[in-house]
Subunit: 355 residues, 2 copies
Amino acid sequence: MSASPSPSNSERPAVIAVDAMGGDDAPEVVVRGALAAVSGDREIVLVGDSMRIESLLGNRVGGPGIRVVNATQVIGMDESPSAALDKKKDSSLLVAARLVKQGDAQALVSAGNTGALMAGSLLTMGRMTGIRRPAIAVTWPTYDAPVDYVLVLDCGANAESKPEYLAQFGHMGSVYMERVMGRPTPRVGLLNIGGEAGKGGTLVNHAYALLEKAGLNFVGNVEPTGMMRGEVDVVVTDGFVGNMILKTGESVAEMIMNTIKAGVARSLRAKIGAWLMKPVFRDLKRKVDHSEYGGALLLGLRGPVVKAHGRSNEVAIANAIKVASRAVSQGVIAHIGQSIQQAAAREGGADAASA
Amino acid sequence: MSASPSPSNSERPAVIAVDAMGGDDAPEVVVRGALAAVSGDREIVLVGDSMRIESLLGNRVGGPGIRVVNATQVIGMDESPSAALDKKKDSSLLVAARLVKQGDAQALVSAGNTGALMAGSLLTMGRMTGIRRPAIAVTWPTYDAPVDYVLVLDCGANAESKPEYLAQFGHMGSVYMERVMGRPTPRVGLLNIGGEAGKGGTLVNHAYALLEKAGLNFVGNVEPTGMMRGEVDVVVTDGFVGNMILKTGESVAEMIMNTIKAGVARSLRAKIGAWLMKPVFRDLKRKVDHSEYGGALLLGLRGPVVKAHGRSNEVAIANAIKVASRAVSQGVIAHIGQSIQQAAAREGGADAASA
């Protein structure tokens, strides 16, 4: 039950707090996912009903790389976030977030209630120094593109944004894609209604100007079509728009899949056809399914927060833990701070030069 | 070559100006679509290269319900709208728009360059009295819903909006859906990041307050998921967000369709499966394809403007003409004016009562 590094490792391992009670199939799937993610360079802290978790861990209780912290309450998937956070101070989510705040863990993973996770970790952990607003970053699949997916942020942490926030989202996304996802000098694009500079309203135009001098690999405006063709690695947008395109994309994909399913259910001929096409549909599902890439992220807090999908299977949970772990070991928080400081210094220098 | 009513009709027929040169397969497809839409209660004016149009019309030249107006220039699908509108004063698009401005036609239909159509008709025809900003309205397919489609506006006529514009979009969409699409007391929803009142930023919150007292059947906020389940008939949003969700929806649908096609092309087994599933894919294509409902609309000008898809076939062109014709015969412009006046009077009355 200690957070000290495992003796086999010379470096201090990343400690990842995992909300074991969050998600549709918690704690079973979460515990299995955590076991699948055990490795020498990370320590996983499962937070929740310790009796249940330990019985699921079986003979792995007390084993290397995994430990349990008890929490007596659970926030339900459909509970109102504000009410739940108010009442359930000993919920697995808040106990896990407190571990990060206290420095006993460096990142948080949950497949639970998204709103509660976002609000709870912001309130408990607090923003990292220099960041004005956190952002929800989501991986988005591409088609016929040089890259498999792009990162879109903000997807809804903020209902209203200022240009400065968007510029910071550019820094956060760029550092994350470079350090965690291994994309060298990520191309950063600003989501807009047209490709040319000057398109869109005041917010995007001011954000464009800030991104141009941010010291990032800013490639200008990008439209949803270009985003899905992988013309950029990082798509910067305000939380309202990001949330709307994310939900629209999910709803359209769901509509198409359900329309196909309903059509297949109505005819034997189509049923046989669907069986023959099974490998095609499996590949498609994999492309559309975000879980492969480790879920959504909340960036800009004192530690990275990874939100796995509520319907996550154990592979998705394990991926989410690995992503969080890599974000810690790669020093994402420190690098974001550095990137923003450098931009501020550059701007200060430019101001001084032009003065 | 006269715009006077056909003698067989006691009521003055709607006169629809059609840009015969706009669209990927113009003028052939446009002329065929126009011929399919000929009826006693409308007159179609085909605008463009009169020699070519008349040769396509064949023995229908000079026949009832259809006539030709010459225009010597064509705006290409990929031309920059502002430059094209500047140079090509005798383009089929601008000549057709001028017919509406001068009262020789009451509505405009084009399958050509969207940006040029929107800018050109706004500049030429002008806004209707009382309307602060026009809006692009697009029909959006639903799934497993009480209605086949909903109307979303604004999908990009304005890059930046004020709450008052959004309230007017509610009036325009409601009148259109009731008068042209036959939906009694259409349910109007405000696109937002959550269902509850108070969600979202300043713009949507102020728009919410205005829509509540607009005298419409305003049902509150709606998310993309609810929109696609047909929880409302009219979705009000600002042009930036509307444009982004529209392009995202189209791109996601395209990605899924192309992923399926590519998978099928790679395997004989899947090819046979796809052949067996043909009826399912045909139904799906019909659902995803907007052309069935008559294209996108520009509302708020002196006459309705219908934008058919650039790839429209003759059925889609005929539908677009019928929609425009119905908008005229149902007096959509007058009814929108009335709806907005009544709301203003109600608000004035409420102000007086509360004073």
